[in-house]
Amino acid sequence: MADNTSPEVPVRTGPTPTSTLAAIRIAKTDRTRRPLPRISGKLLTGIIIVVVISLFGILAPFFVQDPRFSGNDALLPPGDGHILGTTKLGYDVFAQLAWGTRGSLFVGVVAGGLALLLAILFGVLAGYFGGVLDEVLTLITNIMLVIPGLPLVMVIAAYVQHTEGLGAFARSSLLVAIVLGITGWAGSAVVLRATAKSLRMRDYVAAARVAGEKPLRVIFVEILPNLVPLLAAQLIFGVIFAILGEAGLSYLGLGPTGSITLGTMLNDAQTGQAVGSQAWWWFVPPGALIALLGTGLSLINFAIDEVVNPKLRLAPQAARNQRKARRAGRSVSENGAIA
């Protein structure tokens, strides 16, 4: 009779103790069980900020005055009729703010989405297929990565805006969004490539291939769904990058001067010497909204990051545990002193 004692498990490859394997397993199932981040304070704050601003950008434009109606008195401070006052040209600041928020969100979403698509195209394909395709795509990604972002955007934006025959498109927010999208994907591509490369080695990907799945289907149906938190983080990062980038470009006068965004508002305020004439109501609201939007999106991003990267999630918990332990220790010693 054959006599194999040790069951197959303990003889596993290498020195990895089974307890670590078990821990990894638990972490894995834990993650699959909770595809969405647990609602933490951070996440909740972020979501509330972003939702409120988005609703404002989507709905408010329907209820405000025409943002380019210049029949109002110029530079009115906040007050009756104009909650946020008026600009030098007599535009209602609140109306401008509503439309500007919508414009900025539009730029952010379009540019962020475009950047994500490009990042998937370059990163996931390179990581999954490897070989020559990987080398070529990674080379392009690295070139995009080392060219400094804002100067590149400025050059492209300045160039396309002076191209003949583009008409109104040359000064539209769509064009700016496209420029920002095309220049903003490389960082995400690097992250996605690394992840795709490691997922490719997963057994369930191999099993899908053995089952007969075609490569593109493996990527889009087997791999990408498991990357949703990571993709969401990259998308949000792209949106932040685009909104801030648009504001920067506009401030420099390279923005979508044909549309209204938070950035063009700041630019108008700057060229109209709002600071000099102490018209704070003209530049503080758009500046504050950009900062808030950036904060809200970043908070959501941090929360997602904690899901993607369990180490981060455990960090605050470890700190808490430590604090608890310290407090417990102190109370023990206090009790000791009393006794």
């Binding site: 054959a2 194999n4 040790s6 197959e8 490859t13 894995k28 069980r33 053995v210 007969g212």
Partner: protein, 287 residues
């Protein structure tokens, strides 16, 4: 098709592995070394037979399995299905996969956490039977789940892998491997990640299916005891080569190669042997 008895082709089918070789180039800095994971492996699988491939960790068993299931290319040698070289791409590969399937070692890793159990079984059915309607595919998927003793299938179909136990997951993996109507199954340590108490159940299921479907099974394992019980031939692999092969009883009772003796010695433990025998008796006779 797996669910119905099907006439085997007139000429006896074979899956022949001839002088298989696989080198890995390891790079550390500028230094390069070559690792001979598999140096010379030949054997033949036939429908209705189970061949066990036994060897210690790192001896190259999984590499052989991955080459047979076309997840990796060999450095040398051939994989011949019915005398024809196993293809690498395209329709030919699809046809090959409808005949040769694999069950992976770790059922916790081999099912996609994102997809339902039904999806895992339906996909290969759909890929290899493109003419079937969605309804028929679903019906067959349920049949397959019942065949691997996930009954009633409706209780499992819409769950996701993490809601199942290891043994149940491995049954899903087996159903998935049967779905294309495969003749050959490569089972790479199919129970090593499972709890000892449920291993025999899964192995018995594999043995049952092997007999009723007339499958040719390559059973890769560390465990000489189950290799002896479940196979018609044992091959002992050591450092990338097969060092001993033969009838299970003769290999185990009368090992010729030094390495086989070492394996047997390492495994010798009367307590566990008794326990296994009892388990086998409890499960009923299986061979």
């Amino acid at each position: 098709m797996s669910h119905a008895k099907q006439g085997r082709p007139e000429a006896p089918s074979t899956l022949e592995i001839r002088n298989l070789k696989r080198d890995y180039t390891l790079r550390s800095g500028f230094a390069r070394t070559t690792l001979h994971a598999v140096s010379d492996v030949s054997f033949t699988l036939e429908p209705g037979r189970t061949v066990a491939l036994v060897g210690e960790s790192g001896s190259g068993k999984s590499t052989v399995a991955r080459i047979i299931s076309r997840l990796e290319n060999a450095t040398g040698g051939q994989v011949l299905l019915d005398g024809v070289q196993a293809p690498n791409r395209g329709r030919a590969l699809e046809r090959y996969r409808s005949k040769v399937q694999m069950v992976f070692q770790d059922p916790f890793a081999s099912l996609n956490p994102f997809h339902t159990i039904l999806h895992h079984v339906e996909r290969p059915l759909k890929i290899h039977n493109p003419h079937l309607s969605k309804k028929e595919i679903t019906a067959r998927a349920h049949e397959l789940l019942e065949r691997v003793q996930l009954t009633p299938s409706s209780r499992y179909a819409d769950r996701r892998p993490h809601e199942l136990s290891g043994g149940q997951r491995q049954r899903v993996a087996i159903a998935r491997a049967l779905a294309p109507g495969a003749t050959y199954i490569v089972a790479d340590e199919p129970v090593s990640m499972l709890d000892v108490s449920i291993r025999l159940g899964v192995l018995n299921l594999l043995a049952d299916l092997q007999r009723s479907e007339g499958l040719g099974v390559l059973y890769i394992t560390h465990d000489l005891a189950t290799a002896r019980h479940f196979s018609d031939e044992i091959m002992v692999m050591y450092r990338g080569a097969i060092v001993e092969r033969g009838e299970p009883d003769s290999v185990i009772l009368n090992p010729q190669h030094e390495y086989t003796r070492t394996l047997l010695d390492a495994a010798a433990d009367p307590d566990r042997l008794g326990q296994l025998k009892a388990e086998v008796r409890a499960e009923g006779s299986f061979r």
